[in-house]
């Protein structure tokens, strides 16, 4: 439910909602485009209602029930939420997820920004841009499995090299201290190019004459980065951050194929716990309650980020 509410398709209803406004106006104008607009909106609206609004409402309802999908749901009031608050595994999952998000987004954003600036300031090569984007073309599951094999403690080529250099093998995905950072870095590797490209697009919107003027004034690249690039990139950076943080909170596939939550729940991220509760243990009510909690957490973080970064305003012009 939360997946649907915050993944890319969620932009459809926004677009649809914006487009609804002119429909109303058109009514008052004879020969307007109201019906035509409705026709074009209909598919998106249908998708929004069927795949987003209805599942969200139903998910919220189910979070107040005991439901195993095969027998009718039983109303339990706040039972699932009480259980959630008292469930140490839920809190641990939330903590592990936050740890993952901080590492993943922190490293990814800095690296993506560096790559984007280098792409903007040093080269115009589209081949390089293509290479930067290459890992993103791979599916998360494939990337996870490939890294799993590379990093395997006993057999992985990565650890063979480490051992060959005389160092101790590192249980990257099999040790509770290493596993989350490793998964975070695997996903940085896959997403950094895409994030860099988004930021790069933002950089292209910064007028070149600003840099020229600064150069005339004798500013260094470093100074120009902090005084021109960063302030003017802020709205784009803010949107990219909001999107990547939401995506990062929903990490699932990489964990599912590399560690499946282990060792000893060390990588049991919230989405995995929700999935396991629902589809492994058939506790759809409890899983729905946790999904609602995730929705609340994500909404709060998004609003906070939006406010703090003033994502809706630009300093340009």
């Amino acid at each position: 439910m939360t997946v649907a509410s915050s993944s890319p398709p969620s932009r459809l209803p926004l677009g649809a909602a914006e487009a609804v406004a002119p429909v109303k106006k058109a009514k008052s104008r004879p020969g307007g485009d109201g019906a035509l607009a409705a026709l074009f909106i209909a598919p998106a609206m249908l998708g929004f209602l069927v795949f987003l609004l209805w599942p969200t409402l139903r998910g919220i309802y189910l979070s107040f029930t005991d439901f195993n999908l095969l027998t009718p749901a039983e109303w339990v009031g706040l039972g699932n939420y009480v259980r959630m608050v008292n469930d140490p595994i839920f809190w641990q999952s939330l903590w592990v997820t936050v740890e993952y998000v901080v590492l993943n987004i922190g490293v990814q954003t800095v690296a993506a920004l560096a790559i984007a600036v280098l792409l903007q300031r040093l080269t115009q090569s589209s081949v390089l841009r293509g290479i930067v984007l290459a890992p993103y073309l791979m599916s998360n599951v494939v990337a996870g499995i490939v890294w799993l094999w590379i990093l395997d403690t006993q057999l992985g080529i990565g650890n063979e090299i480490i051992a060959g250099l005389g160092a101790d093998r590192i249980p990257f995905l099999a040790d509770e201290t290493w596993a989350i950072p490793t998964i975070a870095m695997i996903n940085v590797w896959r997403h950094v190019g895409y994030t860099a490209l988004l930021l790069f697009a933002g950089l292209m919107a910064i007028p070149n004459d600003m840099y020229e003027a600064a150069r005339v004034d004798g500013a260094s690249e470093w100074r120009m980065f902090w005084r021109i690039t960063m302030p003017l990139l802020r709205p784009v950076l803010a949107v990219v951050l909001i999107m990547t943080v939401i995506g990062s909170f929903q990490v699932f596939d990489t964990v599912a194929v590399t560690t499946d939550g282990g060792p000893a729940n060390a990588t049991n991220v919230l989405q995995l716990y929700i999935y396991d509760s629902a589809f492994g243990r058939f506790q759809f009510g409890y899983a729905s309650a946790m999904s609602v909690a995730l929705l609340v957490v994500l909404s709060a973080i998004t609003i906070l980020q939006y406010r703090l970064t003033r994502a809706g305003q630009t300093d340009l012009g």
């Binding site: 209909a42 000893a264 396991d276």
Partner: protein, 450 residues
């Protein structure tokens, strides 16, 4: 007016679309559903054997045909549960005890009482395990497996351990007995020193005596179950459908402490070397990283197929009770409650459970079927391939020196697994004390009390 016409058209289109999707749920099989029985299994190795069975069945039941679908273990259960929800379940499917408790809770299985299954027609205990708490039968016995020690023959030879020695090992939770001595001796560190030699470097082990099989979840089937059972422990208060687990038992905890202690001593690979996806016990043996691994009969062909390596098998070691113990688990065929072709499904399951079909399967030499005759056929087929399977069959035949025990069957099986998996990994990987199982056990029993 023009626009209104378009709107109506769009609405009609949308309606048609939704109707079309609605139809798809009805399954366009129509009358053919009456002639087809759908059957799912997960083991690709067994597919040819069951295709042969299906041919025999179709010959005896003109007009009926069996459509077999095979998919890997993980996908199998995901798809099966999804199919129950979506109403696209197979008529018949291969069932596992680990899942039986949950399916019984969810009431998705059809009772098979009228199939005339006699417990005595099968190896002891196999048929009885598939009776639910309500007293109805939900599975027809299909095959069985036990657990034994697979070892690299060359490594054993180099260590001066004969097949006879490995077959007569014993153990206890105090000093590990001759089993621990053998495992220690099979272990070699980076400098070539064996595990029982002075100066052995447990931090830099080249070959572990025993492969890591992970924490073993709640069953420890190919990990600690043989040791715990040979020390006289049982999972639950009752043989089947127990209401209390006994992970808080002191004997059990002493076994677990000793077993995971093997990793601390450097004789068994650490948890961090194990990965259910990339590095299972058999992979560690195949890669020469471990000299032996406890594993189930379903792995016989896998170990026999290692290129350039001969593997032998040995009985599980004798425990403090003076007996050897091995888990005897069996699969069954179950019919889904909402099967489209229930009549055909019942005929097919009856045939699958017959000596005729099971002997056909046995002749392929890939699994031990549930009937004694078919087991003999399988043993002969393995022998023909040059594989000695006595380490798996002896415990079933000899009740004096062996204890065979069943996979634990209780309600809330998925919850029990979910709680025990991290608890065991915490002990194995993070050195948590075994007494922490007291709390886990309380949590589990609380769930079972619901």
């Amino acid at each position: 007016m023009r626009f209104r016409f378009r709107t109506v058209g769009a609405l009609a289109g949308a309606l048609a679309l939704s109707l079309a999707t609605g139809c798809a749920q009805g399954d366009g099989t129509g009358s053919s559903a009456k002639n087809t029985v759908t059957y799912w299994l997960w083991d690709a190795n067994q597919l040819p054997a069951y295709e042969a069975c299906a041919k025999g069945f179709e010959k005896q039941n003109p007009g009926l045909n069996v459509r077999i679908t095979q998919m890997g273990w993980d996908d199998y259960w995901t798809k099966l549960t999804a199919s129950f929800i979506a109403g696209t379940q197979p008529d018949v499917f291969t069932d596992h005890i680990q899942k039986f408790g949950q399916f019984a809770d969810l009431q998705v299985l059809e009772p098979l009482d009228d199939l005339g299954i006699n417990d005595s027609d099968y190896q002891p205990g196999l048929a009885a395990n598939w009776t639910g708490q309500d007293g109805h039968r939900y599975g027809a016995p299909k095959d069985w497996d036990t657990v034994a020690l697979f070892y690299n023959e060359k490594m054993a030879q180099d260590a001066g351990l004969s097949a006879e020695q490995l077959n007569t090992l014993s153990w206890n939770p105090k000093d590990g007995g001759s089993f621990e001595k053998a495992i220690a001796h099979l272990t070699i560190d980076r400098n070539g020193k064996r595990g029982d030699e002075p100066g052995f470097d447990k931090k830099n082990v080249k070959v572990y005596g025993l492969a890591s099989k992970g924490g073993g979840y709640a069953d420890g089937q190919t990990q600690w179950s043989s040791f715990a059972a040979s020390a006289g422990w049982d999972y639950t208060d009752k043989k089947r459908w127990g209401t209390e687990y006994q992970f808080n038992d002191k004997t059990f905890q002493s076994v677990i402490k000793w077993y995971f202690g093997l990793a601390e001593k450097g004789y068994m690979a650490p948890l961090s070397d194990w990965n259910s996806q990339s590095n299972e016990g058999n992979v560690q043996v195949a890669a020469g990283k471990a000299a032996s691994s406890l594993d189930g009969a379903w792995m016989i062909s896998t170990y026999a197929g290692f290129k350039g390596m001969k593997t032998g098998t040995a009985l599980t070691p004798e425990g403090p009770t003076g007996k050897r113990a091995t888990m005897m688990n069996g699969l069954a065929d179950s019919i889904t409650k909402n099967a489209r072709n229930k009549e055909g499904a019942k005929k097919w399951v009856k045939y699958l459970a017959s000596n005729e079909c099971q002997t056909t399967v046995g002749r392929y030499g890939i699994v031990f079927p549930a009937t004694p005759d078919a087991t003999d056929a399988a043993v002969a087929a393995y022998k023909k391939k040059g594989i000695d399977v006595s380490a798996f069959t002896e415990p079933v035949a000899d009740k004096k020196d062996f204890t065979t025990f069943s996979y634990p069957i209780t309600g809330y099986a998925a919850d029990v697994q979910a709680l025990m998996e991290p608890a065991m990994e915490d002990i194995y990987g993070n050195g948590k004390p075994v007494s922490s199982l007291d709390e886990t056990n309380d949590q589990i029993n609380l769930i079972l009390d619901q």
